[in-house]
Each structure stands twice: as structure tokens, then as C-alpha cells.
């Protein structure tokens, strides 16, 4: 294994473009190192991006949107009052990843690029309408989060492409987001199901909504039908049931050591309802 510490993203991109074999970028390392130690994946080339300037920065743009550097760890997000108040659902989702120790390392970009269908922050980012800044040899572009996951453990990023930051849109008035996941214990588990919801109100009716689900399909997905089920409605019992129904319909899970098909499908509905209530309350306050 070769270990590199490039000083710019273009250098990182060049390194990965020209490298042979298995290439991994190292940010927080909480997935890369686990896979290395467990002999699941031993990269031939490991590119540590943490020496690149500004990778640890959280920046608020003049329009109120946010840019989160690729190496910002969970604890740093959780300590950031501004982003927490704009996007509480996203920050809570990040905070759910692993322990205090993992929070000292794990990053949004890593969680996204690991390609796990059960990644906690990804449904929240998708619901929030976030984008990733992707850098390759021809420059940089913004890609919506829902375009990044490809299949379990794989992303749509090509060789020589590296994510430098995550961008969250400006917080709209009368809107709120939430993320919930189900795990058997209180902490430390991988989501059996995850659900992110972001909604905007006009009066007490929902005018805009984005609903996403994790761990119930091969990648995290945005569920348009679930959003439609609540748009134009108040969040009454009937609407919640319709939301749950739409969420369950979108499920195509597997049975494994973390949950059965029936259980995951059932829980998707339960979490969609609970997350919607939290997001709704946040939008009202």
C-alpha cells in the first residue's frame, strides 16, 4: 500500500487518475481502516486528503448556503451552532454515526463515498437537497447527493474524481428537517432503516417536501411518492398513514443480520411518520 498526502484536490485527483490497482481516499478513515484491518479491502494507493488547505472548514456563503469541507468530522459539525440551527436533521444524522470516538474522525464525504445503503447522513443530505463538489482533471462541478450512490459499496464517481466538499442550501423560512433511524441498541449500530425528511410549510399545510430512505433499497433513495403524499396537506393521521404507505411501497430490502424484509418495510413507515412529525414541528417553530 502506498500512502500519499497531496496538498490540493487537483493533485489528489491527478494521483488517483494515474494510480493503478485499488485506490481509496482517506478522510476520517472510519470505513477505510475497518476494511483494511478486516482484510476486506487493502488499497494499493491511499490518498490522505487531510493535508489539503480548507478541508476542515465550515463556511456560510452570502446567500445563506453552507459549504462543509471534506475532512470536517462529525464532532465539528455537532459543535457548530449555525449549521445545527439551519439543518438540525443533517447534524443529528451525522451525530448518530458511531461513538464519540468515531465522531472525532468520521466525515460527511466519507459516509457518502463509502456507498453504504445504510449510511446515516446520506438520507438527511438527500432530503435537504444537498450537493457534493466533485473535482476531476477538468475542474469542479456540483452533483446532487442522490446522483452519487450507485450500488452497495459503489458510487457513480469515476477514476480521478474526488469530492472536496458538501454543500447545503440556505435554510428557508418555515421549513424543517429531521432524520431518524432504527437500531436494536441505543447507539453503535448500523441503521436497520433510516429516514430523512425535509419540508416547508405555507400556513399549516406542507408546500414542499423531500423524503428519503436508507437501508431499504440497494442505495439510499429519494421517495417522490412519499413527498407527494404529504405535499398540500396538514400533517394529520390520514396524511401520516399515506406517507407511511408510500414509504413502505418504496422498500425493496433484503433480510440479513440486521433485519428482515418484513421488519424493514414495516419500520420504514413507522420512521417516516415519526420523522415527519419532528420536521413539521421544526418548520412551525
Amino acid at each position: 500500500m502506498q500512502y500519499y498526502t497531496p496538498e490540493s484536490f487537483s493533485e489528489a485527483s491527478e494521483l488517483s487518475k494515474n494510480a493503478e490497482g485499488i485506490i481509496r481516499f482517506l478522510a476520517g478513515g472510519t470505513d477505510v481502516l475497518v476494511q483494511l484491518r478486516a482484510d476486506i479491502t487493502t488499497p494499493d494507493v491511499l490518498i490522505d486528503i487531510k493535508k489539503i488547505p480548507d478541508v476542515k472548514k465550515i463556511k456560510k456563503n452570502p446567500d445563506g448556503s453552507w459549504c462543509i469541507g471534506a475532512a470536517v468530522c462529525g464532532a465539528e459539525l455537532n459543535e457548530h451552532e449555525g449549521i445545527k440551527s439551519d439543518w438540525p436533521g443533517v447534524v443529528e444524522a451525522v451525530d448518530l454515526i458511531g461513538s464519540t470516538q468515531i465522531q472525532g474522525r468520521a466525515t460527511l464525504v466519507g459516509n457518502l463515498c463509502n456507498g453504504s445503503p445504510a449510511a446515516d447522513s446520506v438520507p438527511a443530505l438527500m432530503a435537504a437537497g444537498a450537493t457534493a463538489t466533485v473535482i476531476n482533471s477538468s475542474g469542479s462541478r456540483e452533483v446532487s447527493i442522490e446522483k452519487i450512490p450507485h450500488s452497495p459499496g459503489r458510487t457513480t464517481l469515476g477514476k480521478g474524481e474526488v469530492v472536496s466538499a458538501i454543500n447545503l442550501p440556505a435554510h428557508k423560512p418555515n421549513s424543517g428537517d429531521a432524520y431518524l433511524r432504527l437500531i436494536p441498541r441505543t447507539e453503535m449500530d448500523i441503521a436497520v432503516v433510516g429516514c430523512g425528511i425535509n419540508l416547508t410549510l405555507e400556513g399549516d399545510k406542507i408546500s414542499e417536501a423531500r423524503v428519503s430512505l436508507g437501508a431499504v433499497t440497494p442505495t439510499v433513495i429519494l421517495v417522490d411518492a412519499a413527498a407527494k403524499a404529504i405535499i398540500g396537506k396538514q400533517l394529520d393521521e390520514q396524511t401520516l398513514e399515506a406517507l407511511a404507505e408510500a414509504a413502505r411501497k418504496a422498500c425493496n430490502p433484503i433480510s440479513d443480520r440486521r433485519g428482515t424484509i418484513e421488519y424493514r418495510t414495516h419500520i420504514a413507515g413507522v420512521l417516516a411518520k415519526r420523522a415527519a412529525k419532528i420536521a413539521y414541528e421544526r418548520a412551525r417553530s
Binding site: 484491518r37 487493502t42 491511499l46 461513538s99 464519540t100 468515531i102 472525532g104 453503535m188
Partner: protein
Amino acid sequence: MSNIHVNTIVNGDEVGFLCDPRETLLDCLRDKLSLTGAKEGCGTGDCGSCSVKLDGRLVCSCLVLGAEAEGKKIETIEGMSRDEKLHPLQEKFIEHAALQCGICTPGILVATKALLEKNPNPSETEVRYWLAGNLCRCTGYDKIIRAVLDTAADLREAK
């Protein structure tokens, strides 16, 4: 690839070592610097017994590469008491019988020290969630939580 030369500061001392790029910080602390207080219980960041502070952040040293330590400041259990006197947490853990086998103890002490530095007045629930990544199989956590809360109260009073 050949070994990487790493210079770092551990518990205030400048140290250097050579490591394979695949070796973790935990491997390096234990095998190259003879600091065996951090333990490998899982190697996957699930048990917390290798907890150390890296530039002020609590991390699992099994999920950090040795090479990443270049130019960093690392604090381990060996640096918790710098002179004859134990850290109040160490004293209280002994007094409360908050350890049985003791394998998780260094990690839990490093983690709880980090907690009290950040939050001098944690609730029982806050202590429990802060320590969710530090597995203990012997105690049922009861006496550990009591020792931490008791230390926190003493430290607040001393201020």
C-alpha cells in the same frame, strides 16, 4: 513501499518511529513506542479500548494510521497522571471499584477525561451516551457511571 518515518508528540514528548503505511496508530503506540496502555479489543472502532486524544479530539487509535500521526499531538492513558498524583478520575475509579478485569479501563478513563473537559457537569444520560463506544463486559457500567459523576461533582466543587 518502504516504511514511513513519523515524528509526533506523545504525552508531551517528541518521538519518532518507522511504520508500514498499513500499521495503525494503535500498532505504533504499542509495538514501536511501548505504550501498551491502549488496547486492541476489536480493531474496528467498536469497543473504544484503544481510545486516545489526537490533536485534542477523542478517537479510536485503531482507526488512525500511524502515518497520520505526523506532526500531531497524541495523549494516551500513560500521560493521564504526570507526577506522583493520580488524576481524580483514576482515584475515583479505584475507590468506586469501577473496574473488574480492567481491560477497558484505560480507554474509558481517556474518554471520560475528554468528557469532563468538555462538559464539567454531565447528566447520567450524557455520561452513558458519551461512553456508548467504550464497551465494558464486566461491570454493567453501574460503578463506572457513578465514579464519573462523583469525580465531576468533586472537580466542580474544587473550582
